[in-house]
């Protein structure tokens, strides 16, 4: 723009300005898109936990994965700093829990599932189980189990 002024080709200035505005606008759109992706990736940590399923990792680029790793780390260090020695896992119990154990129904065959004391449960379609709440939350979010309210 300044070069145009110095060379005396003043009639080019509006078109340069126009192009510039367009470029700026495109840049804003792309930035908005990337920022939205970032927010979604952050939400993924809360939904899926620290390990993302491979089909999701497939859709992320290397920088996004790196960002995800760093977000995970800072979240983990924050959680460690809460609640005494062990830290507090705030990604559990997103809604206030009503009971320690919940009844869940299996919506699809998921195979075997291990719970805290080492025992394995076979998740077969249409079987119902009464399990500790914290083990089920992941699977409920993934749609494998359904919370049965009676």
């Amino acid at each position: 723009c300044n070069e145009a002024k110095s060379e005396g080709r003043a009639e080019l200035i509006p078109s340069i300005k126009l192009r510039h505005c367009c470029l700026l606008r495109n840049q804003r759109c792309v930035t908005a898109y990337l920022y939205d992706r970032l927010l979604r990736i952050r939400a993924l940590r809360w939904e899926y936990g620290s390990v993302l399923p491979p089909n999701i990792r497939f859709h992320m680029c290397a920088e996004e994965l790196q960002w995800f790793g760093q977000y995970k780390k800072s979240l983990a260090s924050f959680m460690r700093s809460l609640g005494g020695e062990e830290g507090l896992d705030i990604t559990q119990d997103m809604k206030p829990p009503k009971s320690l154990y919940i009844e869940v129904r299996c919506l699809k065959d998921h195979g075997e599932f291990e719970i805290d004391d080492g025992t394995v449960i076979l998740l077969k379609k249409n079987s119902q189980h009464f399990l500790p709440r914290w083990k089920c939350e992941q699977l409920i979010r993934q749609g494998v189990l359904e919370h049965v309210v009676s």
Binding site: L100, Y101, E103, R105, T119, V120, I121, L122, K124, K125, N126, S127, Q128, H129, F130, L131, P132, V149, S150
Partner: protein, 542 residues
């Protein structure tokens, strides 16, 4: 072995363990399962619930879960076969069986370690004593020990040994000949809840539904039904004691169970009175509604009671209040004239909220219709889950859809019966009557489920001949479902010998049969083998 103290020997044993519940597909089992689930929720016992529809399902479920669970609770399955031989479990698996099928297999009764029967011992069992059955082992020992004796001695002992074997077989044959049903599983678990003082009205209602299911599907005698109703009535009055307090009366939304001496018209409060009379098995049989004469009698009956046709064909809830008030008495009086002495039956009803009133038999029909619905793309376990849900009070729309399905089912039953009789599809085959529903019959899909078939039998019976045995046959993808039915009479003890008869007939003709159902009187047979199987059955029973 039989459990004497259900709290100590069952509940406290499983209270800190993880349990697998294997539940059969009938309403009584569903109700028992709901009660047990409610107890487990209370005490946070972790469990896994698996629905099973037959012996094969039971075997598969057991294999899948035997690594992870040590304690198995079987509801309405497993008592009438040698379970250890069928499942081949490890030595530390323990089975708690609460089953209404009788006779209980003698091995299950006398096994002390792995099989625990949640059945009352005075429940009319007639189990042969231990000595009668297991005596032959001692004699075998004697026999081999005395071989060194003189020539005549061994042959003498051997003859006695053979006689003992023969006696043993006879005892077992007598014991296992007839199949019948014992006290409802739901009532057993309700008693457990009562002993733990954790019983609630919901559990009481489920126990009542379990008992009513046994009566609706003709599994228990009238005497037993009345006795069990009296037991439930005691519990109901105990629970209703709170309602009587004027100052702290319960809100209208709370559940109230009341004893009703109500009409035997199926679903009449959710239907029109006219439809209900036409489609209830008791009234349609008494009037013989498939004949013109029967239709006339029905019109006379309604006129006799002074009920205008317009009112009677309206939905029950919209009928005139003046008519509804005395309806039961009016109907009872009129039906006495037409030979229907038992139009009223003792039962229970529930109501919660302003709109929701249900009788126990309504619930049974609705849940049974959901359990055996023949929609496409629905597997048996899907139906099981739907039916289980409909028993909870929060799933009223599921219950209403069940009621609609039940209405369709009842109409289909009446139409099929009418067509069977009018087209003479019911044939006499010597010792029994035989009815074959062919593939082109409308609604035949509905009858590919055992419970619907058993509902079909009563109208067939009442209509044709009330004292003969029946075999109902129905078609489904190359196989035929055969149901054996006992004579229907006031004094019948509901003991069914068809189970053993079917086994023997299929052995002797080497027909390809599948004895998969927990009720031994219902089997599946290849269509090609049908005629030779029936011939064998005729020769066996004559």
């Amino acid at each position: 072995m039989f459990i004497s103290d259900i709290r100590k020997e069952f509940y406290e044993v499983v209270a800190n363990q993880r349990v697998a519940l294997l539940v059969s597909s009938d309403i009584d089992a569903l109700c028992a399962c709901k009660i047990l689930q409610a107890l487990f929720h209370c005490d946070q016992v972790q469990y896994t619930l698996v629905p099973v529809t037959g012996w094969q399902d039971l075997g598969t479920a057991f294999l899948e879960h035997k690594e992870q669970f040590r304690y198995f609770v079987l509801i309405n399955c497993g008592a009438n076969v040698d379970l250890l031989e069928m499942l081949q479990p490890d030595d530390d698996s323990i089975f708690f069986i609460c089953d209404t099928h009788r006779p209980v297999d003698v091995v299950n009764v006398y096994n002390d370690t792995q099989i625990k029967l949640l059945i009352k011992q005075d429940d009319d069992l007639g189990v042969p004593s231990y000595d009668d059955i297991f005596r032959d082992e001692e004699d075998e020992g004697h026999d081999s020990g005395n071989e060194s004796d003189g020539g005549s001695e061994p042959s003498g002992k051997r003859r006695r040994f053979d006689e003992d074997m023969w006696e043993l077989r006879e005892i077992l044959f007598d014991y296992e000949q007839y199949e019948y049903h014992g006290t409802s599983a739901a009532m057993m678990f309700f008693e457990l809840a009562w002993v733990l003082t954790k019983d609630t009205k919901d559990m009481l209602w489920w126990a009542i539904i379990g008992l009513t299911d046994q009566w609706v599907h003709d599994k228990i005698t009238h005497m037993k039904y009345v006795t069990d109703i009296a037991t439930m009535q005691r519990h109901v009055s105990r629970h209703n004691h709170r309602n009587e307090d004027e100052e702290n009366s319960l809100s209208i939304d709370c559940m109230r169970i009341s004893f009703e001496y109500d009409l035997r018209l199926t679903l009449y409060q959710h239907w029109t009175l006219y439809e209900s009379i036409c489609n209830s098995c008791y009234t349609s049989c008494s009037f013989k509604l498939w004949t013109l004469n029967g239709q006339k009698k029905l019109q006379e009956f309604l006129a006799d009671m002074g009920l205008p046709l317009k009112q009677v064909r309206q939905k029950f809830n919209s009928m005139d209040m003046t008519i509804k008030e005395n309806l039961r008495d009016v109907i009872e009086e009129a039906s006495n004239k037409y030979g229907m002495k038992d139009i009223r039956i003792q039962t229970f009803g529930v109501h919660f909220g302003f709109k929701n009133r249900f009788l126990a038999s309504d619930m049974v029909h609705a849940t049974a219709a959901l359990l055996e619905s023949t929609e496409k793309d629905e597997s048996d376990s899907d139906n099981f889950i739907k039916a289980l849900d409909s028993l909870s009070r929060s799933n009223l729309d599921r219950l209403h859809s069940g009621i609609e399905l039940a209405k369709k089912k009842l109409i289909a039953i009446q139409q099929t019966v009418a067509s069977c009789i009018c087209t003479n599809l019911i044939l006499s085959q010597g010792p029994f009557l035989y009815c074959y529903l062919m593939e082109g019959t409308p609604d035949v899909k509905l009858f590919s489920k055992p419970m619907a078939l058993t509902l079909l039998k009563s109208p067939c019976h009442c209509s044709v001949h009330s004292l003969t045995h029946g075999v109902l046959v129905d078609v489904e993808k190359g196989t035929v479902i055969v149901v054996g039915i006992t004579p229907e009479s006031e004094t019948s003890d509901k003991k069914n010998f068809f189970g053993r008869a079917f086994e023997k007939a299929s052995e002797s003709t080497s027909s390809r049969t599948l004895h998969d159902n927990f009720d031994t009187s219902i089997i599946e047979l290849k269509t090609e083998d049908r005629s030779k199987f029936l011939d064998a059955l005729i020769t066996l029973l004559s």
